[in-house]
């Protein structure tokens, strides 16, 4: 059960224990982090679960596929190199300590 820290738009932090195999989006939703809205329920259709993940974690994350990349690059104004859709990141013990920044919603 990796511990995940969310940095919310108001810069407050919440650390929660995630279930192995859950997506980052699911972890946020299950823990009442409403700043991630995840309208499509995690099927990579809407880009409402946008987040930033520090590049130091890049090697431990499955890279974004074409669908995710296209959604990110075209949906979001403040897209950055470390932008991801949290519904496409599935958690494992090696992600313990992951820090996720949630931007102000653009939706």
């Amino acid at each position: 059960m990796p511990n995940i820290t969310f940095i919310l738009p108001d810069e407050s932090q919440v650390t929660v224990a995630a279930n192995d195999g859950d997506s980052l989006m699911q972890t946020a939703v299950d823990n009442g982090i409403e700043q991630i809205s995840a309208d499509c329920g995690g099927c990579c259709s809407c880009a409402t679960c946008h987040c930033f993940i520090d590049n130091s974690w890049k090697e431990k994350l499955t890279p974004a596929d074409d669908m995710e990349t296209d959604l990110l690059e075209n949906a979001i104004d403040n897209v950055q190199e470390n932008s991801r859709l949290s519904c496409q990141i599935f958690l494992a013990p090696e992600h313990d300590g992951l820090v996720v920044e949630i931007p102000e919603s653009e939706w």
Partner: protein
């Protein structure tokens, strides 16, 4: 005093959540006729039907969430009456609850078949958690499935049943699937996709009777004179807004519960949101009723804001999605009433159809072309004028077409 929400699907749950995030501290009672925790509906015809999504992933929120947010979730409970003078609702156990604000998130009910044999064992619908479980229970003994209805539910059910290895016949009333919802380009693509995957699509073949042996379905007769063997029938023939409580309470209804731009009904203390609502959409300048997750959640946010004192007119850009086989269909806007289309085809498997009235873009249907969906969704709100020649040319950068 408190807020009572009738209906705990996407709209009702989102309203409860947003009341709390807006700082609403009074009681919230969330009433659901279902016996299970509030759940997502889109997977019911897709991943949950195919049994690839575990049940606990279907829940919109875990059980503990409602306790943590002090939301009194009443499952297996129906409201039988609203008394708007006394500001009370009466539950099916005769309990009376008072409200200061009431939110109707009653959704829509499936339209049922009325042809002979509709009551036979093996005839199913797809709307609720229980419907999908009922279907899944019957899958082991099913070889032949007949799906009735060429809308999204029919197409998704056919795709799911095919993926599960069944022989599938899809009977549709019209010439093509989604006839009233999309252009022939998209209909034909989806029709071909079903056929390529082995579904027998029969256009202009409304079901006329369901034949049984004993109580069990064995075949479906269609208007084309054919009979199709069936151990299982799934009907997806549309829904009607669930407005009877509102109507009986004397609220204005007209193909849905009528609301203003803040989701307020003809009674200032009663709001209505989601599939059950008829509202004026400022983007399209007409009265609409929209059945979608986006509409449910966004209207919930508008109602919660209004109840908490922030009046923000509803004007969200509608969007939808559907997954069938390897096709991801993403839709922004409402294409009804279009007079011109532009097709942007990047490959055999990736195309987008842009819908116009005159020079104004009003909607897009994108199949495996998320870029067209996303960019359109971003800029669609003012129904922009877009250069059609450039739009059809895949070598032209989409972003620059919209921002030129």
């Amino acid at each position: 005093m408190s807020c009572i929400i009738i209906g705990a699907s996407h709209a009702g749950v989102q309203a409860a959540i947003n009341l709390r995030t807006q700082g609403y501290t009074d009681g919230i009672t969330l009433i659901s006729a279902d016996k299970v925790l509030p759940y997502q509906r889109p997977p019911l015809s897709k991943a949950f039907l195919q049994n690839t999504l575990p049940e606990q992933r279907l829940w919109l929120r875990p059980e503990t969430f409602y306790q943590q947010k002090d939301i009194d979730l009443r499952l297996s409970t129906r409201v039988v009456k609203i008394d708007k003078q006394e500001q009370q609702v009466v539950l099916d156990n005769q309990e009376q609850l008072s409200y200061s604000k009431l939110i109707l998130a009653t959704g829509a009910s499936i339209r049922k078949l009325t042809i002979p044999g509709s009551g036979l064992e093996g005839v199913h619908y797809l709307r609720d958690h229980q419907d999908t479980l009922g279907l899944r229970d019957q899958l082991p003994e099913t070889n032949n499935a007949v799906v009735i209805g060429g809308g999204y539910i029919g197409l998704e059910a056919a795709a799911s049943l095919k993926k599960l290895g069944k022989n599938v016949t899809l009977l549709i009333n019209s010439e093509r699937p989604l006839q009233h919802l999309t252009s022939p380009v998209i209909s034909n693509y989806l029709s071909n996709l079903q056929q390529k995957n082995g579904v027998d699509i029969q256009p202009l073949a409304p079901a006329t009777a369901i034949m049984g042996e004993g109580n069990k379905v064995v075949a479906v007769a269609a208007a084309n004179g054919q009979q199709y063997p069936a151990d299982l029938v799934v009907a997806g023939i549309g829904v009607t807004p669930e407005q009877s409580l509102a109507e009986e309470a004397g609220l204005a209804v007209e193909n849905g519960i009528k609301v203003n731009q803040y989701m307020q009904t003809s009674d200032a203390n009663i709001f209505a949101i989601g599939d059950c609502v008829s509202f004026y959409h400022p983007m399209y300048k007409k009265q609409m009723r929209i059945e979608s997750v986006q509409n449910a959640t966004d209207q919930a946010k508008t109602a919660a804001l209004a109840i908490c004192g922030t009046l923000t007119p509803y004007s969200a850009t509608p969007w939808f999605w559907s997954d069938q086989y390897d096709a991801k269909l993403q839709i922004a806007g409402i294409s009804a009433g279009y007079d011109d289309i532009v097709v942007r085809k990047e490959s055999e498997k990736s195309l987008a159809v842009f819908y116009f009235t005159g020079d104004n873009l009003i909607a897009v249907d994108a199949i495996n072309q998320p870029k067209s969906f996303m960019i359109t969704r971003k800029y669609l709100h003012d129904l922009p004028k877009v250069n059609k020649t450039r739009l059809a040319d895949c070598s032209q950068d989409l972003n620059s077409i919209f921002t030129e």
